[in-house]
């Protein structure tokens, strides 16, 4: 027969064990050492059933019908019963189990249920903590990156350009929407069409999600000599319907390019005056506050870019 007192002692030891796992050694030793008298008393009364053997807690399974994998290994795994000196260490549970294999199966059931509940709660708590910490870490990473990009401070200035319909547009006109910005030129052999196709695909895929705000794709020329309003109009209609082409005087275009540290260098002209402009190939993401948030190079495909934009939108905090 086990008194309530000895049951309390068991629970206390359990908490001590839990404390041990949680790294709280003070709790562990405090609890483990608090009731040596009781346990030795128990040991004395049931000396006949106390013998060293491997005990599987799952042997309790048929009695109470619980079957949690947690109980098979780890904390409550098979422990060899030591001598009475092992009383203050882990095998205590299993000792109790052997001892309670006798007539008192109901108390054993209760104890098992309690243990199960505690384990599940503890396991759940661990999982929850891990998940929370992981999310916090990710959020921190994102914030760090945004801070870094803010320091780089691209796109802080203002630009004033003509769109492909001949209307003047400034940076202010695009505040309030997410912008995907690409610098290129219409005489580009393959790269600019590919990148603009990519941008169009990203915008289309994000359009499908009604919960997200609409993204505004922009194409700014690095070749103002040839890319006038008419040329841009012809060019942009091959891509996403919302794509806006922007051009202006060489000065205006230079200001816009400088803002984003775009490198552009026209190559040598050939017989018919054609030339290729060497330029940085990047897609810039600008948030509704006009802040540059991220960039995507040729390595990123449209799925990855869409995913990144989605993440930025979700973690967007209005200034």
């Amino acid at each position: 027969m086990f008194s309530v007192g000895s049951m309390l002692c068991l629970e206390r030891r359990m908490l001590g064990l839990v404390g041990f796992i949680g790294g709280d050694l003070h709790a562990t030793f405090g609890r483990l050492l608090r009731c040596p008298v009781r346990s030795s008393a128990v040991q004395k009364t049931s000396g006949s059933t106390h013998h060293p053997q491997r005990v599987w807690l799952s042997s309790q399974v048929p009695l109470c019908g619980h079957h949690t994998p947690k109980h098979r290994t780890g904390l409550y795994g098979p422990f060899t019963l030591g001598s009475s000196r092992g009383l203050l260490s882990l095998p205590l549970f299993t000792q109790r189990v052997t001892l309670s294999q006798g007539p008192n199966t109901s108390t054993a059931k209760i104890r098992l249920r309690t243990r199960l509940v505690v384990t599940l709660l503890f396991g759940g708590g661990l999982l929850g903590t891990w998940w929370y910490v992981r999310n916090e870490k990710r959020q921190n990473h994102r914030m760090q990156r945004i801070e870094q990009l803010k320091k780089v401070a691209l796109g802080q200035g203002d630009f004033s350009l003509l769109d492909h319909r001949g209307h003047r547009r400034t940076k202010r006109d695009f505040l309030g929407s997410w912008v995907l910005l690409y610098f290129g030129f219409t005489h580009c052999p393959d790269i600019c069409p590919e990148e603009l196709d990519k941008v169009s695909a990203v915008v289309s895929s994000l359009d499908k999600d009604r919960s997200l705000p609409a993204v505004q794709p922009l194409f700014v020329t690095v070749d103002p000599e040839r890319d006038n309003v008419a040329a841009l109009e012809r060019y942009v209609k091959d891509f996403h319907p919302r794509l806006i082409g922007l051009t202006g005087t060489p000065e205006e275009v230079k200001v816009a390019g400088k803002d984003y540290r775009v490198y552009a260098s026209p190559g040598p002209k050939d017989e018919d005056g054609d030339y290729i402009v060497d330029h940085t190939i990047l897609i810039y993401l600008v948030n509704p506050d006009g802040l540059f948030l991220d960039y995507y190079n040729r390595m990123k495909d449209d799925v990855q870019i869409a995913e990144s934009v989605r993440n930025h939108m979700k973690s967007y905090v209005k200034l």
């Binding site: 219409t186 005489h187 052999p189 393959d190 069409p193 040839r226 040329a231 012809r234 060019y235 091959d238 050939d270 017989e271 018919d272 005056g273 054609d274 030339y275 290729i276």
Partner: protein, 81 residues
């Protein structure tokens, strides 16, 4: 001269791909692919022809480096004193 539109671009890329396939099949023997070469030059602006030719040379070079390996350049020679 206005920039090629989408259809013209695709025609040029198609001709380029045909030419490159022919060159791949004939171990870069330019004489056996003259027909494709002419087609390519007709479909694409002159600048693009130059650009794509250079691109092919670069890709071949890169391939060679990756498969055959290369000898790293010697560092600066030690001064004799």
């Amino acid at each position: 001269m206005s920039a090629p539109n989408s259809n013209q671009r695709k025609a040029c890329w198609g001709a380029r791909d045909e030419l490159w396939k022919c060159l791949d099949d004939n171990q870069d023997n330019a004489s056996s692919c003259e027909k494709f070469q002419k087609e390519f030059e007709a479909s694409c602006p002159a600048q693009w022809v130059k650009h794509f030719t250079k691109r092919r040379d670069f890709l071949k070079y890169k391939d060679k480096m990756q498969t055959e390996g290369f000898e790293p350049a010697d560092g600066p020679k030690e001064s004799r004193s």
